[in-house]
Amino acid sequence: MQGLFPTPVVPAIPLADAAPVIDSLAILVLCIAGMLGTILLLPSHYHPSWRKIGGAVLMGVGLVFLALVLRHAAIVHQTDIHTAYFWIFAAISLFGAIRVVTHRRPVYSALYFVLTVFSTAGLFVLLNADFMAAALVIVYAGAILITYVFVIMLAVQSTGDSGTASQQMVDYDNRSRDPFIASAIGFAMMGVLLLVIFDRPGQLIRPVQARAAGAFEESDGSPVPPQVEGNTQELGVYLYGHQPISLELAGLLLTIAMVGAIVIARRRVISTTQAPIVTAETVVFPATPVDDNPHSIPVYGTDNPAQKAYPET
């Protein structure tokens, strides 16, 4: 085997027994999916949305194929696959970041931000932070961005359907505010940061020792007990063992923020026909607007969920 291939000896996988470049089942599935995508994409009488679905399927097949070939190339040629994945994820996340900032429509900004979050999660996986990658996807892409999209839906405003696409947008989406000065400041800061980061000529900083999962050291140098396996468990051991107060404070802060957000965003409907009767059951002066939906959150002073804050008009 070593005479056939001029590359250095592969330590783990003897190449004679290695899996083929791409698994045969994967080839079959990719070909079938590609065929369906091409059928949908070719010019036909189909509805345009079918063609877009076909285009998307075809692009997905191409990307999966590229990823499999890349992985095989890394295994064979002893290239560090982490480097290739790093460049891919970094490029995607920076492209997504630029499109977040420069796209005209806020919905597309939110969608490009989802793309940025996913590629940042990929970078986290490369940095052995599996739990943080999953938490990032769940919290950011799953909760915060959904909230943003809902607020965009509630607060949309356009000037109608006439005119070109740019005329339909409102003015504050079409023009940016001081682009020259802001970009100059931003790129000046970016330049200074990059200069400081790459300050050591010809010497790149690498981690002191290669670590496997479960080999994190504590701050005084003693190793973490070895019965943890994987990043999630050792992060849990670390959080609950070393930072319980911060954890409790984080939960408290989330509760406070949730209560605050509910309180400040309710809507009040003021009845103008008669003054509200002030009794012990009703609210004297709701400091924040309340919803007139009978199924809304009850105000303080009453434990009847159907009780409103003002009498029926």
């Binding site: 977040v100 940025t116 490369l126 950011y140 400041i185 970016m190 980061i197 070393h242």
Partner: protein, 103 residues
Amino acid sequence: MGSELALQHYLAVGAVMFAIGMIGFMTRRNLIVMFLCTELMFQGVAINLIAFSWFHNNLAGQAFVIYVLVIAAAEASLALGMIVLLFRQKSTLDADAWRELRG
């Protein structure tokens, strides 16, 4: 570049993402996109923290990112609630509509 990844690579990605977020925050006038850019700045900081945690073999960086996520979620909910309130007042998402608050 070497075949192995160094700390500077990840720090550079974090710095560039932070700077892009800062440019967007200063430039855009839509309130929602402005807060989206602050979330982008959080992403850059999170990349930096996780990279340092990887470099020092210390889990404190990842715990810090958990707290950054907590703060980002709380801030996003409150900011969006206030944006909804502001939109109800003036029916616009323009940040310059509140210009009279300036001294």
